[in-house]
Symmetry: C2
Subunit: 407 residues, 2 copies
């Protein structure tokens, strides 16, 4: 212990400590840097009139291996970030009424479908133009399909426009996007590793995902109303427990159904939203989310290793890919949500951030050998730019647009 102290006392880096015997020290120090950076950069961004999320993602870049090197995204931080995303979407679900979502159902489906087809086509074309193989080009398209609802949802929360019509369209479209996007990823990854899927298999994956969403809503909504009076007899802290257990449980189950856990968390939140006005557990969930969600945003930044942007060619191609990524989603929003008038542009912009979903897709492709270093770097740049710039644009656009509410 003595030697350990002498060696590491001056070296207050979370990663260095974690690698040594001081496991706990490293974990806590890493978490400390993350929370500190999130607080400072989030506050700075707010002061500069930017969404706090942008500051937090950039905070991750700043303290990460590419810059200050104080922290790296170890297993604990990645898991905690995942939990942060789960609680973020759980909270978003708590602020969403199912009937408001249903009211914009048609638009959400259209936006989701167009927001998949257009980016997929654009990415595929871009990949073929770059002389990639068909499967690799398809994979680039798949990376363009990803949408990070967490980033957008947080910006909408901050702006206080969560119950606006366009916000509901974004949420609904994001859920559908996730279902179709994960199915697409399974198919394309399968192609990449030489296992092509039959239509029956694809149908089963899709059916399982859709069935799960339907099940949670058709069983959950009547059930929660039925038990409302019983829930009301619980103390606030016990109701908080019930809420957290429900959120975690449905999130975990949704991964079993092939969905992202955030979708399950969102659905669980939406079910509980039916009774939350009568029950006062929301502020406690909000405190949890306030601690965990910034960790999620910082870790998104931590995972972007800018050192892969080695050449001007990569940066140029990545920039072009970014334009296509923006065009695909914005067009999808404009066309799909035409009925919303000028709010359609908000929908399109809200679908732009690729965030952690884009990172996951890119890393999967790299690990499976479907895409290679330079293409990975282009996708990374696209993820970073869409994640940072879209919230800025969305904020400006929301401020300029007269926004209508659903109900």
């Amino acid at each position: 212990m003595f030697k350990f102290l002498l060696t590491f006392l001056p070296l207050l880096s979370g990663s260095a400590l974690a690698a040594s015997s001081g496991e706990t020290a490293g974990l806590l120090l890493g978490l400390f840097w993350v929370v500190l950076a999130a607080t400072l950069c989030g506050a700075l961004a707010s002061r500069l009139g930017m969404p706090a999320v942008v500051g937090q993602v950039l905070a991750g870049l700043l303290i990460g291996p590419g810059a200050l090197g104080l922290v790296q995204a170890d297993d604990f931080l990645l898991s905690l970030a995942e939990l942060g995303a789960v609680f973020l979407l759980f909270m978003v679900g708590l602020e969403t009424r199912f009937r408001d979502l249903l009211a914009v159902g048609k638009e959400a489906v259209l936006v989701a479908l167009l927001g998949i087809i257009l980016p997929l086509g654009l990415g595929l074309g871009f990949g073929l133009w770059q002389n990639l193989g068909t499967v690799s080009a398809l994979f680039v398209g798949t990376a363009l399909v990803a949408t990070s609802v967490g980033i957008t949802a947080k910006v909408l929360q901050e702006l206080g426009v969560m119950d606006a019509r366009f916000a509901q369209v974004i949420l609904g479209a994001a859920v559908i996007d996730d279902i179709l996007g994960l199915t697409l990823l399974a198919v394309v990854s399968g192609l990449g590793t030489g296992q092509s899927m039959g239509a029956a298999q694809v149908g089963l994956i899709l059916g399982l995902s859709l069935g799960f969403v339907a099940l949670v809503l058709t069983v959950g909504l009547p059930l929660i109303r039925r038990f409302e009076s019983r829930l009301r007899s619980l103390s606030v802290s016990r109701m908080f427990n019930v809420a957290v257990v429900t959120g975690l449980g449905v999130a975990a189950l949704s991964t079993v159904a092939g969905l992202a856990p955030i979708i399950g968390a969102f659905l669980a939140g939406m079910v509980l939203a039916e009774v939350k006005d009568e029950l006062e557990f929301e502020s406690k969930v909000q405190a949890l989310e306030a601690f965990l969600a910034p960790i999620f945003f910082v870790v998104v930044g931590l995972q972007v290793d800018l050192s892969v942007l080695t050449s001007a060619a990569v940066v140029l191609a990545g920039g072009a890919l970014t334009l296509l990524a923006v065009a695909g989603k914005v067009l999808g929003g404009l066309l799909g949500a035409r009925s919303l008038g000028q709010e359609a542009l908000l929908v399109g912009t809200g679908m732009v951030p690729r965030g952690e979903v884009g990172l996951i897709v890119a890393s999967l492709g790299l690990a499976a050998g479907i895409i290679e270093g330079p293409v990975y770097a282009q996708v990374l740049l696209m993820v970073l730019l869409t994640t940072v710039l879209a919230p800025l644009a969305l904020r400006v656009l929301v401020r300029r647009t007269a926004v209508g509410s659903v109900s």
Copy 2:
């Protein structure tokens, strides 16, 4: 993904999923079981008139590898549990006034010293009587020295007697216990691995720990008063951020100084307690603690593998060791806190639970080859019995005793 679904759909076990490719699913499902078990068993314990902590530790035993096998204590749960202990002690610190602690300083020092010397001597004697070598016997003594302040603090919180004089003595003694106990552990572990420490080295470890505590208090307390008005101008959510960053930072730093992170968290909480009446962030910290602390208690239970209790001889010897473990701390409390009259028994009882500290010491000794299987099993039984029975006894005793407050 398809094959994965078919294989694991019926097998909703966190550990099975974590071992497979569904990392996230496994993590969330494991956490779901932990939080569910904590909620149900905690509520059941409360209904039976027992402290919720006891239900939560037993919940860990129930869902752990020894019984239902739904979850195992993986790295994520262990880290989250550590974080739970940190927030628990941070919250305890927030409920503690430094001047109240100082008011019982003499008693706390006496209780801590006697609570180390007596169990160490009893454990050493027990080990020698069992024909262990001197170093192994010393190590058994060291395992008896450990005190888990988290378990007791939670029981005191639940009973609403945190500001009673005896509670303050326990908290003060626990801090001193941790400083001396960790130094002792370093010395004895060093002996076990053949590196004996000089007096200068021991002095440096002790000095560093004590110096850190003194530094945090002498710098922190004036500093917080000085910035009080500035802190008051922050929004509640920003003040929450400042509090969390402070707690995590001091906790991480305290590990660098050779202390347990919970001690740093406690000190940070106590510093912030000076201004908390003016600032309304406490309920948010409390929500975080309400989520994380039960995870800590369940994980303590998860780590107790009852299957090591293979023979009647082990159970018998473990039972005897438990009696010595109780006797050492109760005597230490009775003698050290004599001035508190009948509350001295409460102090002694409050020092009894060995909890996670006992587990850590035992595992360290086993890993370093200082103690062997059967002795490890005896220590494990001692840890379990003191952790579960002391809260029950404390609750009964507190209810029967007219408890005096410090201020």
